[in-house]
């Protein structure tokens, strides 16, 4: 069958088709721009203010970004860490013989193999691997390097740890009491305390039209980055170690690694890869000293990637905070005095608690002008997963407190929530709770802009 007949048979309108082909092309309604150029923001000057696409976006979109778990180095071993599984205990013994005897297992280390077994951004209260005491259930007690990930996972099941279990301290308000046993005895359970004091709180309350009180609390949450913590260590013949890591802050991470390994910083190179989400959770070392020691012991590259459960119970989390607010206001809803007490559940280790405590205490008054203020914050140890840096350092917690409280006050006084905020908002040149003069302050502008966009009744803008 030739083509011509085929067309005739299918359409039956061969002549129409031929006529159409021979007819002159109709002119486009608008001249078609042959030379289409979509301006590329990354090629524009001035550069600031452009909606430039990220150069790594293309690789992410194509699935070509290499995370540490995608790396393979010849001869590389896989590391798994044995977790305590008990929240508070004394370690009697760690028996690794059976694991070491397994085919494919190349090396096993315990807390006793860590040269300097303490680290932390402020207090050095965290062991790399627990050696004498277990402070929370996610503590590591031993680590295995094996030729496959599966053998390493099987091997940690063969490690026998004998514990003397002790009653854990789990409630932060219990921990606050002096008679409660110390999580890190002889150190006290209250390991951080901060006060912000301004004006005369008693006079402020005395002059108030009404006084409101409210108590709020928040829960423990995880950062849940898509990419779990991971690191890969390789030593060279000159005794220098290169560690690829998911750390978000390599300069200070290197100092911690040097300290725990007991070697000079000049012998450590940290390379941070593209990190698949940090949110504050990757701001301190986790597996890095472990893989470095296992790599040294075996003479082979060693990699460790957290499992999803480890991401939950062996990395830092957000501080639960118990908040008590007391606020004195005028009839018009102007805040005259505010008193706040915060108790932060610090978990098993200090980590970034001091920073969280400080920021929470400074910010807990809210973005408002308050002449008479007293804010006091405590952070206590408990035998729970350590709490540390997480996006906002205490701010989302206290914002839930001061803004819930603000709406309760507004409702009781019959003032619109927008109006009461505008009446109290910080302004250019306002003094902060620490009496700092504030600049580029736009609380009012953001309130009015959001209210207008939302369609909030009574928005003035």
């Amino acid at each position: 069958m030739d083509t011509k007949t085929a067309v005739v048979e299918k359409k039956g309108t061969l002549l129409d088709a031929e006529a159409l082909l021979r007819a002159p092309a109709p002119a486009p309604l608008v001249p078609f721009p042959i030379d289409v150029r979509v301006p590329d923001p990354s090629r524009q000057t001035p550069a600031v203010g452009q909606r430039t696409t990220r150069p790594d976006g293309r690789l992410h979109g194509l699935g070509q970004t290499k995370y540490i778990d995608d790396f393979y180095v010849p001869g590389m071993l896989f590391c798994k860490i044995k977790r305590a599984g008990v929240a508070c205990a004394r370690i009697i013994s760690v028996d690794t013989k059976e694991a070491e005897a397994m085919p494919g297992v190349v090396a096993v280390i315990t807390g006793k193999d860590i040269p300097v077994n303490t680290f932390g951004p402020s207090l050095k209260d965290q062991p790399v691997l627990a050696d004498e005491r277990v402070f929370h259930a996610g503590d590591g007690v031993a680590a295995v390097a094996a030729v496959t990930e599966q053998i390493a996972a099987d091997a940690i099941e063969k490690i026998k740890v004998e514990f003397e279990e002790l009653p854990p301290v789990l409630d932060p308000l219990e921990s606050l009491k002096l008679e409660t046993p110390g999580v890190h005895a002889p150190s006290a359970n209250i390991y951080g305390h901060k006060v912000i004091k301004k004006g005369d709180i008693e006079r402020g309350f005395a002059e108030s039209y009404r006084i409101f009180e409210g108590s709020f609390r928040t829960q423990m949450v995880e950062h849940v980055p898509l990419e779990p913590h991971s690191s890969l260590a390789q030593w060279d013949a000159n005794g220098r170690v290169t560690i690829h890591s998911t750390l978000g802050r390599i300069t200070l991470g290197r100092a911690d690694i040097a300290r725990t390994l007991g070697i000079p910083m000049s012998r450590i190179r940290i390379v941070a890869t593209v990190v698949g989400g940090n949110f504050g959770g990757k701001n301190e070392i986790t597996t890095e000293p472990v893989v470095a020691l296992l790599a040294k012991k075996t003479g082979r590259p060693v990699k460790c990637t957290f499992t999803r459960p480890e991401e939950f119970y062996s990395s830092t989390t957000r501080h639960p905070i118990i908040m008590d607010y007391k606020t004195g206001v005028t009839k018009d809803g102007k805040i005259l005095a505010r008193k706040i007490r915060l108790v932060l559940d610090g978990g098993a280790y200090c980590s970034w608690s001091e920073t969280t405590l400080g920021k929470a205490c400074i910010l807990c008054a809210g973005p408002y002008e308050i002449e008479n203020l007293y804010a006091e914050a405590f952070v206590v140890y408990t035998n729970k997963t350590m709490t540390g840096a997480m996006r906002g350092f205490g701010a989302p917690q206290v914002c839930f407190g001061y803004e819930s409280h603000m709406d309760d006050i507004a409702k009781a006084l019959g003032i619109d929530p927008l109006e009461i905020r505008l009446r109290n908002a910080l302004k250019e040149g306002s003094f902060s709770p620490t009496s700092q003069t504030l600049h580029s302050v736009v609380v009012r502008e953001s309130l009015l802009q959001a209210a207008q966009r939302f369609g909030w009744n009574g928005a003035k803008a």
């Binding site: 301004k198 829960q219 949450v221 978000g248 940090n278 973005p367 609380v443 953001s446």
Partner: protein, 340 residues
């Protein structure tokens, strides 16, 4: 029955560490062809900060963002940086990168001045050229200057800079002082539907109005705000690590630890508040952490508006909201009975 409510929350948040030194250093090299290389010790953790730093360097040198290649996060090659923490990268590392680029630019001006027959302080870097201020017709391409700096003048244009926010230590007794160099401000308003029979809360939309000083890249600011709101929604309604009586986590997995997915995201509208901070690079401050601060408070205020119950502990799970509604109804019944 589904009841609709709305709630707002505003917030303030600082940039950088509390009092403690948190410097960043940076090195900028202007290459022979007029492109530049930035060396920084900070880490790209998904937020797009390296793009922001490239834009800052490009702005200072008068070139385009794609002309700046960023080398980051290697302790052997990149200068000290406190890292991707405390919403500090745009402000602190950005200031360091701008200062480093400025130094390299001034070296270029020294080389370009005799080429253009003017003094170095009469020059400006603009649109890939070194131009004479007030007489932009007289100009020379930045690549020609950078090349000449190497092969004729023998002064390779490489600048380094550092920045550390200016703070004043807090008084240990009163906590008075200047803990941070600058702060950002924001408001979020949430609209929710609460099912008054099941307690289930659905966030319908969130309007977010955020200050970050100058938005170096408005698209990346919007991305940060949307991401922060998704975290805030999880914090408000779903996420919670639970422990058994012995202190062991009982839901350490994504099956039982419920976090929002893209299907749980409300309609989000982001506005950037017009602002300029003279202490930041080109007026910029930062935006990373603040984006998740006010979401939970706004949602809980909206729940209160919808069904009249005050959630005092997070997360506001359906069970918790349901119990609060039941308790409120029981109390109202008692009041009616007492009045009757």
């Amino acid at each position: 029955m589904k009841r609709r409510g709305r709630g707002m929350a505003c917030m303030w948040y600082p940039i950088g560490f509390t009092v403690a030194a948190n410097p960043s250093a940076a090195v900028v090299k202007v290459n022979e062809d007029g492109t530049a290389t930035l060396l920084t010790g900070t880490v790209e953790t998904g937020q797009g900060s390296l793009t922001i730093l490239a834009q800052i360097v490009a702005q200072e040198l008068g070139v385009a963002t794609e002309d700046v290649h960023v080398v980051s996060a290697d302790t052997d090659t990149t200068p000290m940086d406190t890292g991707a923490i405390a919403s500090r990268t745009t402000y602190v590392t950005g200031n360091a990168a701008r200062l480093a680029a400025e130094k390299a630019k001034l070296m270029l001006f020294d080389v370009a001045a005799p080429m253009l027959g003017v003094k170095a302080n009469q020059l400006d870097a603009k649109d890939h050229h070194i131009v004479v201020q007030g007489y932009p017709q007289r100009k020379v391409h930045i690549g020609d200057v950078a090349n000449r700096a190497r092969v004729v003048s023998g002064e390779p244009p490489i600048g380094s800079g550092y920045f550390n926010p200016a703070t004043v230590a807090l008084d240990p007794e009163t906590g008075q002082g200047k803990p941070f160099a600058t702060y950002v401000y924001a408001t979020q308003i949430a609209e929710v539907d609460v099912d008054d029979e099941t307690g289930e809360v659905e966030v319908v939309r969130i309007v977010a109005s955020h200050d970050c000083g100058t938005a170096i890249n408005p698209m990346l600011v919007e991305g940060q705000v949307e991401g922060g709101i998704s975290m805030g929604v999880g914090f408000a309604l779903q996420e919670e690590i639970l422990f058994d009586a012995k202190g062991r986590q009982i839901n350490p997995n994504l099956t039982n630890y419920i976090m929002p997915t893209s299907l749980d995201m409300p309609d989000v509208h982001v506005d950037i508040v017009d602002n300029y901070d003279p202490t930041g690079p080109f007026g910029a401050k930062g935006v990373g952490e603040p984006t998740c601060v006010s979401t939970a408070a706004a949602i809980c205020n909206a729940i209160h508006d919808a069904v009249g119950v005050r959630v005092t502990s997070l997360p506001a799970t359906a069970e918790k909201v349901h119990n609060l509604i039941k308790a409120k109804q029981a109390q109202e019944q008692r009041q009616i009975a007492a009045a009757g």
